[in-house]
Symmetry: C2
Subunit: 344 residues, 2 copies
């Protein structure tokens, strides 16, 4: 019988099992499969085309795209696993313990651009890293409506809140606020949409964010969870699986409700204009895009998130008292959507 001191037991509990990479990778592929299958059924016309690719420095992936569907003008669902000698500098500053170690990263990410402006764009990403003594999960999902409905925002949030609450009641409020701050376009003073969940550096050991931005959301929200440490690797992996599986029930009912709404040039033009914000966010701020480009990722897969058709217009302002103005005034500011009860 081996005796452990408390701290050794804690360390052990939070260590990944020996088959961690295999299990997470298998889940990420399965998530991609399940999502693609259901989206094809939902669209009814278009199917996903798959490109398998290898990364010269190690790893590869499978990128799946659906185009010109009945529901989805474009949808991309990527799975990838990459490894290499060292993480890029942008990540090492935040996880200095990983310096000098090889890394492994796997994840699934998705962006859907529907045709009908009443159906919101949606994004999902779950990812897992191991590098020497450290490991962590990150991810989330967020909703970007054009002609928004409070009911849809509330349904999306409530579904993810339920998945979070099954693990820890602090997850939803923390990751919801982190999402509002992460998907924020500072130069526009707008959120990207109605948010959802976002988190990073979830390692169960209370390892806080150590990057340069000491007052940024990563520092604040990873500190907010330090009182519930330690969490086991199995706990966290279970949480990730539940979040991943919450996506279809969170989004599909919204598509079903809105897909049949008639629209004309006005709505289409506004949708194309607002898609410009998606491009601005992904190219200027998005960590996943920056990580991909820095690790010599597959450009076509990284930029699959960009919309098929986009418009920019100098000086656009919505007319007061229109649905477009309502988007800006209510839906592009953080709101407690999970508390929404249907009252005006």
């Amino acid at each position: 019988m081996t005796a452990f001191s408390t701290s050794e037991a804690t360390t052990n509990k939070t260590m990944p099992p020996s088959d961690s990479k295999h299990r997470v990778t298998q889940f990420m592929q399965q998530l991609q499969d399940e999502i693609c299958q259901d989206l094809q059924r939902l669209d009814g016309i278009a199917t996903f085309t798959e490109d398998s690719w290898e990364r010269p420095e190690g790893g590869g992936g499978r990128s799946r795209v659906m185009r010109e569907g009945a529901v989805f003008e474009q949808g991309g669902v990527n799975f990838s696993e990459v490894w290499g000698d060292h993480l890029p500098p942008s990540i090492l500053t935040q996880r200095p313990e990983a310096a000098g170690h090889r890394f492994y990263a796997t994840g699934t990410s998705m962006v859907l651009h529907p045709r009908n402006p009443y159906v919101p764009t949606v994004h999902l990403n779950y990812r897992y890293f191991e590098a020497g003594p450290v490991w962590w999960f990150g991810g989330g999902a967020d909703l970007t409506p054009y002609y928004p409905f409070a009911e849809d925002a509330a349904h999306f949030h409530k579904t993810f809140k339920q998945a979070c609450d099954a693990h820890n009641s602090e997850y939803y409020p923390t990751f919801k606020r982190w999402c509002d701050e992460y998907f924020y376009l500072k130069h526009r003073q707008e959120t990207r949409g109605v948010g959802g969940l976002f988190f990073d550096y979830q390692d169960g050991q209370g390892q806080l964010y150590k990057g340069p931005d000491a007052n940024g959301p990563a520092a604040v929200y990873s500190a907010a969870l330090s009182n519930i440490e330690p969490r086991s690797w199995e706990d966290l992996f279970g949480f990730i699986k539940n979040c991943g599986r919450a996506f279809l029930p969170a989004y599909v009912p919204i598509v079903a409700r809105r897909q049949g709404i008639d629209y004309g040039d006005r709505e289409r033009n506004f949708q194309l204009y607002r898609r410009g914000r998606y491009v601005e966010f992904n190219l200027v701020y998005d960590r996943g895009t920056i990580f991909g480009l820095q690790t010599n990722g597959r450009t076509e897969s990284i930029l699959m998130s960009l919309p098929p058709l986009v418009r920019w217009e100098y000086g656009y302002q919505p007319e007061p008292n229109t649905p477009e103005a309502q988007l800006y005034e209510i839906f592009l500011k953080p709101q407690d959507w999970a508390e929404w009860t249907g009252a005006a």
Copy 2:
């Protein structure tokens, strides 16, 4: 009589005159006026609309936009002058002498997005900085064709080469290469177009680039000119004026030659697709955009460079032996366009 040592005389010669800011600002406004006037005449239908704006931290500008013209689907010409307590970190790392000093910056910038895919997009920017003991000019102009003509690329380069050669025979070869390296999309392994001129940190004192990227183009090309130092402020200002005035003769004849060429959906679709590269460059790499967003610049004016309509397409590859393939094979790699003689 005061006696100067050689080094004091040198310092004096390269110091700006007392009315430097006023003179450069006046020139930048005049350049905006001249360009707008000629572009309106060339377009024949659309006119520029002006927004004057003030920057709360100091300064302001005038943004002019032309939309839905006969020639120009969108064109933006900005003038701005801004000042403040300190330059943003991205510039201070390259000009550490400016730390702790107030700054003044003025410039004119322009991007034109023509409607006809046979007419190239064009960009121009000239700028001037003063901050404590340092001052410098930067700028350039570059051409981005969709359905390219060697004759047009050669005309554009030869016109700017002439403007450069009137000042120093090392300018054109140095600033042409700097342009090829600056307007390079690493993630696509493509130049933005056929280039032109690009330069920065021209201060006449042989002050080299001191930023973190010791082997980057700014370090290499500012060192390449150190053997022709010192140059006076008046020399450099004269050079900037000549470059600015070379724009209309460099570009207008190209528009005149190509504006009448018929095109259909194939050419329009390819143009919209290639405009995506312009967005990728401006949001991911462009220093002017980053400076603007970091200094709390006017977002609408900074992003006026983005095209009015853009398309992304996963996995697009031009068909071999087509005009689209020729763009990639010949025109999106650095070429000695000023040497072009019309031979195939």
